[in-house]
Amino acid sequence: MTGMKIEKISGKGVYVAGNDIDTDRIIPARFLKCVTFDELGPALFYDERFDTDDNSKHHVLDKSEHRGAQVLISDANFGCGSSREHAPQAIQKFGFKAVIAESFAEIFHGNCTTLGIPCVMMEKADRELIAEIIASDADTDMIVDIEGLKVICGNHVFNVKMKDSAREAFLAASYDPLDTLLVARSAVEETAKRLGYA
């Protein structure tokens, strides 16, 4: 399924502060016991959101004003740790369509891209300003403009960065590479033969 072009994402934002937020925190290992990804949304950040008796810890994601947010904002090295695609899957199934952070761990970034979740890099001061804006009005509309490399939040416009290949893939609707990988069947066969793997 080569998906739809992804040029802009708009919606409310929510800021989950923290550097080095690893995939174990995004989705604790016990939720990896599944044979499809369908049920992962509610498990997002579970141990940050709930105590061991499943009582809410009133995490920012569970504040009523943030319900339905589509843009997740965090800090440096977001998604580090394991390669589990369960992490971006949970983010997507929870309802997020884009992630903004200082930087992203590589495998996580690749997984997000394949799933059609743009990972956008933004300076700390700008993220802090957005956090303030959202804190004073959670309903502030945000637009993540993949084409223009900008994020609009209320009256503010921020310049952001993206990995070129990912950005191009969103604009060309080629972020899920499977179809293109299947095109070169005969070249793949030749490579396999040449290397003795056939």
Binding site: D47, S83, D176, L178
Partner: protein, 469 residues
């Protein structure tokens, strides 16, 4: 200008460039396990696709398997279902499955090398970040997500951007009591958890060249914890000697010609690198993590860091970590009481790890309040260790000798920390909640240091506990 191994293996396996600008890379060896791969078969089915090269994929189970009772059906229904789904899917696709009790089951990164499936010059993928382990043989070994597992199953290829290469030279001789684990923890401490983003790490230098294959695997295993996409070591005689006679390596004359080909992948003497770091082996000490990332480590002789001594982001990171760990600043790590000791995982669950520890713990006993477990990384490791009687030594010292699996490296099987227990662990991740309790605490260290901590009941200097000179 010559080429480094990364460039050679990459050039050899590139099928072509994709419209997106990425490259299509042929994958020589694909390993799958029950946690990240069953979903990929579902994705293929949805698209009406089959598996293109089933003979280039091998499956096993490791994460969810219990280490006490592996009789089927497993006590945990969901775990049983995951194995069943993988077993059915691989059977249908014609993929070989190293099932429990097949004699070849184990942690995927232990199994590939010990069977000789992992060979120099290969591109290797697995839906698991510690795939970097296989780089020890001179491979580009990449952890991938489930959608990419799907891509590899369907096409035997991946869409990839090329990486930069940083050579990390560890020069000189390691001091007594300093192991490959300490080397890798030291590197991560120096370069940071995201120092390697965008890079493949080439580990070189005399200290690396002098390591056994199992030690090299320990180093490459944790490349990912330093943010590198993969890590590798140039293949040499040590590599070839290890592979000779393995179940799945070429035999006889074919082996000799394979060695010639394998040699050609090693980095040329005049290869260029995007970056280089030199580390003096003599400076590396037994290292222990005090925080919640593998870079938050200190030598056994040091104190926990002082957040007041640094500014900005670092201050926050240190404060967060100390508060999670319930440690104070400027405290010696030595003497920290532990509750659990774990020797195992794809980092340190190989035969040589247990051999090294067995020698030291003979005649000693685990402290009264410590639960100590030793978990072989594979059925083959278990059999070999038993043949040497190592399990007896461990048991006599008060360790439980378990069945093979990932065990307490992560919390997907019954082996878990309880409450805020502290675990001295030979695994690779000390993340918040990693070992199964949301408040559990992990101190990463070498197997020898875990053994020392188990015996003393507190973090200790293995050199003192075992009288190493």
């Amino acid at each position: 200008m010559g080429k480094n191994l990364y460039q050679k293996v990459w050039d050899d396996h590139v099928v072509g460039q994709l419209e997106s600008g990425q490259y299509q890379l042929f994958i020589a060896l694909h390993l799958i396990h029950e946690v990240t791969s069953p979903q990929a078969f579902g994705m293929l089915k949805d698209k009406g696709l089959g598996v293109a090269y089933p003979k280039r994929t091998f499956a096993t189970v490791d994460h969810i398997i219990p280490t006490t009772d592996q009789s089927r059906p497993l006590g945990d229904d969901m775990a049983e279902k995951m194995i069943q789904v993988l077993s059915d899917a691989t059977q249908e696709a014609g993929i070989e499955f190293f099932a429990p009790r097949s004699g070849s089951q184990g942690i995927v990164h232990v199994v590939g090398p010990e069977l000789g499936l992992t060979q120099p010059g290969m591109t290797i993928c697995c839906g698991d970040s510690h795939t970097s382990t296989h780089g020890a043989f001179g491979c580009i070994a990449l952890g991938i997500g489930t959608s990419q597992v799907r891509d590899v199953l369907a096409s035997q290829t991946l869409a990839m951007d090329p990486l930069k290469v940083r050579r990390i030279r560890v020069e000189g001789t390691l001091s007594t009591g300093v192991t490959a684990k300490d080397v890798t923890l030291h590197i991560i401490r120096m370069l940071g958890v995201n120092g390697g983003v965008g890079y493949a790490y080439e580990y070189a230098g005399s200290a690396i060249e002098n390591m056994s294959m199992e030690e090299r695997m320990t180093v490459c295993n944790m490349s990912i914890e330093g943010g590198a996409r993969c890590g590798y070591i140039n293949p040499d005689q040590t590599t070839f000697d290890f592979l000779k006679g393995k179940e799945r390596t070429p035999q006889g004359a074919e082996f000799d010609s394979a060695v010639e080909r394998w040699k050609s992948y090693a980095s040329d003497a005049d290869a260029s690198y995007d970056d280089e770091v030199v580390i003096q082996a003599a400076e590396i000490k037994p290292t222990v993590t005090w925080g919640i990332t593998p870079a938050q480590s200190i030598s056994i002789e040091e104190l926990t860091p002082d957040p007041e001594a640094v500014e900005g982001l670092d201050k926050d990171l240190i404060n967060d970590a100390l508060s999670y760990m319930k440690f104070s600043a400027n405290e010696p790590i030595k003497g920290t009481k532990i509750d659990v000791a774990f020797i195992g995982s794809c980092t340190n669950g190989r035969l040589s790890d247990f051999e090294a520890v067995a020698k030291l713990i003979e005649g000693k006993h685990v402290a009264a309040n410590v639960k100590a477990i030793a978990v072989p990384g594979s059925e083959k490791v278990d059999v070999a260790a038993r043949a040497l009687g190592l399990h007896k030594t461990f048991e006599a010292a008060g360790f439980e000798w378990r069945l093979p699996g990932c065990s307490m490296c992560l919390a997907m099987n019954p082996d878990k920390l309880v409450g805020d227990e502290i675990c001295a662990s030979s695994s690779n991740r000390n993340f918040v909640g990693r070992q199964g309790s949301p408040t559990g605490r992990t101190l990463l260290m070498s197997p020898m240091m875990v053994a020392a901590a188990a015996i003393e009941g507190q973090v200790a200097d293995a050199r003192e506990v075992f009288g190493l000179e």
